[in-house]
């Protein structure tokens, strides 16, 4: 194993800019690691060997003064974002053969910053799931224990980081799909403020909740990537036209003295494993010792969040996924010349979508139906307003809110496959954030029975810098205790 792959993105960027190593060497080292480990991990759906090396050569030719600190550094891209000419499946058979004719804005910004895209990572089909088991292309395995799930939907991106296949990754988070995988793989993931990162080219699951964000193994790396991808985009009408908070400076400053940190009462107690609660309490103690004031706050409407989410997200999904109809791209089933377009649409959708996607399309179609709309979608939107008010009230008292990211550590593959509601509960602490459109980070808080536990920080909208300020401070002390990032404690992978 090359020692290059254990380095942080910040270090790699610095070595490349100083000419101590080429982007090609760094990229090749990661491609080698993918080749060695991915038959076991299955983090990637598409490995762009040629494309990545071509980008690396370009980066080597164009490096110089004033370039991005991530110039030449490789990255793993969740397969829900378009990259021109590169297969994009969203973990679904229905997009078979589709190569998008355009770059998502996130990809454009990555390319403009000289970041190398290694390939597309595995995910729950259309980002619907919390374990990556809903991928049509087989589950991704957690590098901490390959019998366990890496979280979801962005399990591929998180596993790629934990398996040292890439120092950076892009995820998307609709109800926790960046933060929950980060928590269970011992990595860092940020769901930026809704509208902070352009959704143009992010294949929509639930438009009002989806948000792309940065993932890495350290808080600073995450901030560097955040800085690259964030910012106003006129192609996304919901994108916020305001300056991006200086997340990199916040990660470097990382001082919590005098900050008020609110512990959400409703995101604790029953259902939270003891090991999870213990690591959370220890992290709080660190922040307190660093000068933060810890205050308990109540967000009484959070208990309705899961219910509201499972009405809003499937409703929007039922409409967003209607376009997959075999007419213009992707899979086409049953087109034998005798069948009508409607029959081909129906056969294609029956064959192309997996069970969880179908479940949610049916749920959403029902919730939007005449006569049910007010009771379901309408009520859910009201809950959303109440949750947003809970956050607003809490931020009157505190600067950030914190909770465990997930109630449990990574569970075993197959353990919850037959029980969707139990699976949905994995996201109970992350979902309120998406409903309110605020910003949130998960970073490692330690291990419970050898498996990572995540610590969640939640900041007000457009105050993403506070995530890095608090996360950076906590991480500094934890890294001191662990003698480096938590991922350095991952057991040697038993490569198949």
């Amino acid at each position: 194993m090359s020692d290059l792959i254990k380095k942080s993105a910040a270090e790699l960027g610095s070595l490349i800019s100083q000419g101590q190593v080429s982007s090609r060497e760094v990229t090749q080292a990661h491609l080698d690691q993918i080749a060695a480990t991915d038959p076991t991990i299955n983090a990637f759906l598409f490995i762009d060997n040629e494309g990545a090396l071509a980008q690396a050569d370009l980066a080597d030719r164009t490096k110089g003064e004033g370039k991005s600190p991530l110039h030449g550094v490789p990255l793993a891209l969740k397969d829900v974002l378009t990259q021109k000419g590169v297969p994009t499946t969203c973990g679904s058979k229905i997009l078979e053969g589709w190569r998008p004719p355009y770059d998502s804005t996130v990809v454009t910004r990555l390319k403009d910053s000289g970041v190398i895209i290694l390939g597309k990572t595995n995910m729950d089909e259309f980002a619907m799931g919390s374990s990556t088991e809903n991928s049509a292309f087989g589950p991704t395995r957690n590098p901490w224990d390959t019998e366990r799930i890496p979280g979801g939907s962005g399990g591929g991106s998180a596993a790629a980081l934990a398996a040292f296949q890439a120092p950076l990754a892009i995820g998307t988070d609709t109800g926790g799909s960046i933060r929950q995988p980060a928590a269970v793989t011992g990595t860092v993931g940020v769901k930026p403020t809704y509208g902070g990162v352009s959704r143009y080219g992010l294949v929509a699951f639930s438009s009002s909740l989806d948000q792309a964000g940065p993932c890495a193994r350290t808080v600073l790396d995450t901030a560097l990537l955040h800085q690259v991808i964030a910012g106003y985009d006129p192609k996304d009408a919901t994108s916020i036209n305001a300056a991006v908070p200086d997340v990199v400076a916040a990660a470097q400053r990382s001082d919590v003295k005098g900050m008020k940190i609110g512990v959400v009462k409703e995101l604790s107690g029953d259902g939270y494993e003891k090991g999870v609660a213990d690591r959370f309490a220890e992290s709080l103690a660190i922040l307190e010792s660093q000068g933060a004031e810890i205050i308990e706050v109540s967000c009484p409407n959070f208990k309705y969040a899961l219910g509201a989410y499972y009405l809003i997200a499937p409703s929007e999904a039922s409409s967003n996924l209607a376009r997959f109809d075999a007419m213009r791209y992707g899979l086409r089933v049953g087109d034998d010349g005798s069948r009508s377009a409607e029959e081909v649409m129906s056969l294609t959708r029956a064959a192309g979508f997996g069970a969880e996607v179908k479940r949610r399309i049916i749920l959403g179609t029902y919730a939007l139906s005449a006569g049910y709309y007010e009771a379901f979608y309408g009520s859910a939107q009201k809950v959303r307003t109440l949750i947003t008010r809970d956050f607003a009230a809490a931020y009157q008292k505190v600067d950030v809110l914190v909770s465990p990211t997930t109630p449990t550590v990574a569970f075993k593959i197959g353990a919850k496959s037959d029980d969707p509601v139990s699976m949905y509960l994995s996201d109970v602490a992350t979902i309120p954030v998406n409903l309110a459109g605020v910003a949130s980070m998960s970073l490692p808080a330690g291990l419970s029975e050898g498996l990572p536990v995540g610590f969640q920080i939640i900041a007000p909208a457009m105050k993403d810098d506070r995530l890095y300020q608090v996360g950076g401070a906590l991480e500094r002390e934890l890294h001191r205790q662990w003698n480096g990032p938590l991922t350095h404690q991952i057991p040697e992978l038993q490569v198949r």
Binding site: W98, P101, Y102, P234, K235, E316, R323, D325, M327, R328
Partner: protein, 500 residues
């Protein structure tokens, strides 16, 4: 037994509801930067957004919002301070996303009206058509069904899809129920669409070409027994592609509904398609079971919140209302009521005004547009506005006549040639060699020949019987193939015969 129209309206009261779709003439589409040119090669004016590619997002064309607000203001509507786009969900191959971005319960303009004048037995009567709403949406693509006998989807071998039209901004203008028109329902419907078309044209927001589909009308018609105070079951007729068809469709549906009701049958609530050739409608899909479009607010777009100052600015810049303009021009040009009505009916007001603006005398301009050019338009079965001669051409022809370079007869030849696509008037005149004969020696020779051929007639003139000159002049004109100036021929002839 079928009732005549007179019998239908003696027994039943019609109610109308008119939905007009207008394609805006913005340079780019409603939610992307694609061009909107009509008639481009299939699928050449598309992009990831209007093809509904995964991941692509819509962004609003501000010009389309502006046009819609101007339409609303011109129709006396209230402009909603915060309106929203909504998704209308249904599957159809020519709709790239399988939902249409439209507006639902929060349209941008509401509660307006439009007054239209209709000629009745008691003279000109004004009907107020109340407008329920004006909202924005995107157009769909087009399906072309190939093979099979009818060109319809049923029985076709395969279908082709063209998404050039997908995403073109559409404005839908919906009336409230129009009642109290009695037997004038068909005329009121036509007058409404026509007045609306004139307003939209004056606003410059659309090409308003019904035959190209840039203005489309769906006519809802229902009948109830007079005095019942109820509304009957309605049918919705689509595919009404001309003003005349609006009138025919409404009349035809009234007669069809009455026929069913007389037989004790019920009218089925359904979509029907107007058949241009027969003037009747045929059944489309039944709407008995209301389709569930699962509307919900479009999460990819933010609400439309036009600035109040901007709205007032747009209001202050509205063009003159067509009805006011007509009254003004009528006074200016000193046209009698009946002729003004004829000009309005023929759609000639704009054309005459433009021609006059280019220097032509109003009476002459009107004469050409309502006379020879209207006759040729009728022959060719096109609307006057679409005939291939411009106000500029007509103004030039009038100018040439006034200058004595064309006779009326020659001018008619020039008009026909311009319409036939042979070029502008000057080009036609030079290529065809059309000119008033002004070489007087040739003309005198022709007159002398005429005198020699008709000596007795010439003598009558010499003896002071001037009306006899007509036969000689006619002969000269015939010989010169009409190119001579008849007035000059007369002068020369009388001179030669000692009667000058």
């Amino acid at each position: 037994m079928a009732l005549s129209y007179e019998e239908v309206v003696a027994k039943y009261e019609p109610s109308l509801g008119l939905e007009v779709h207008v394609e805006l003439n913005t340079e780019t589409k409603m939610f992307c930067g694609c061009a909107t040119t009509f008639g481009a090669a299939p699928n050449t004016q598309t992009c990831p957004v209007c093809l509904g590619m995964p991941g692509a997002l819509p962004f609003v064309n501000e010009k389309a919002i502006e046009s819609t607000i101007r339409i609303g203001l011109a129709l006396n509507c209230a402009i909603t301070p915060i309106s929203r786009f909504a998704r209308k969900n249904y599957f159809y191959p020519d709709m790239p996303k399988n939902f249409q971005i439209s507006q639902y319960d929060e349209p941008i303009c509401t509660n307006g009206y439009l007054d239209v004048d209709v000629e009745t037995d008691e003279g000109l009567q004004t009907f107020r058509i109340e407008i329920e709403r004006v909202h924005m949406e995107e157009d769909t693509g087009k399906s072309l069904h190939v093979g099979g006998a009818t060109g319809r989807i049923h029985g076709a071998e395969y279908s082709l899809l063209d998404y050039n039209r997908a995403g073109i901004p559409l404005v839908e203008i919906v009336t409230k129920v129009v009642s109290g028109t009695g037997k004038y329902a068909p005329e009121v419907a036509k007058a409404y669409v026509k007045e609306l078309r004139d307003i939209l044209r004056a606003l410059g927001v659309s090409d308003v070409k019904m035959e190209q589909g840039s203005l489309r009308c769906d006519a809802n018609v229902s009948l109830a027994p007079i005095g019942s105070g109820k509304l009957g079951t309605r049918s919705e007729t689509k595919n009404v592609n001309s003003l005349r068809s609006v009138e025919r469709a409404v009349r035809g549906e009234m007669i069809r509904h009455a026929g069913l009701l007389e037989k004790g049958e019920r009218v089925i609530q359904e979509t029907r398609h107007f058949q241009e050739d027969s003037g009747t409608t045929r059944s489309g899909r039944s709407k008995e079971q209301a389709e569930d479009y699962r509307y919900f607010p479009e999460p990819d777009l933010t609400p439309v919140a036009p600035d109040a100052g901007w709205i007032e600015k747009l209001r202050s810049q509205l063009p003159e209302k067509p009805s006011m303009r007509r009254a003004r021009l009528q006074t200016l040009w000193q046209v009698p009521d009946k002729e003004m009505a004829a000009m309005v009916n023929a759609g000639a007001v704009d054309l005459v005004e433009e021609t006059v603006a280019l220097g032509a005398d109003p009476t002459k301009a009107r004469g050409w547009w309502l006379g020879e050019i209207s006759r040729l338009a009728n022959e060719a079965e096109v609307e006057l506005i679409n005939i291939n001669i411009s106000p500029k051409d007509v103004a030039r022809i009038v100018e040439l006549i006034t200058a004595g370079e064309l006779t009326d007869k020659l001018a008619r030849q020039v008009v026909a040639a311009v319409i036939a696509g042979e070029g502008d008037p000057d080009t036609v005149i030079s290529t065809k060699g059309i000119k008033v004969v002004s070489d007087e020696s040739a003309l005198i020779a022709a007159i002398e020949r005429a005198i020699a051929e008709q000596p007795e007639t010439a003598d009558k003139v010499r003896n002071g019987h001037l009306p006899a000159a007509g036969a000689l002049i006619g002969a000269v004109m015939k010989e010169t193939k009409g190119q001579a100036d008849a007035a000059r021929v007369r002068e020369l002839l009388l001179g030669l015969l000692g009667q000058a």
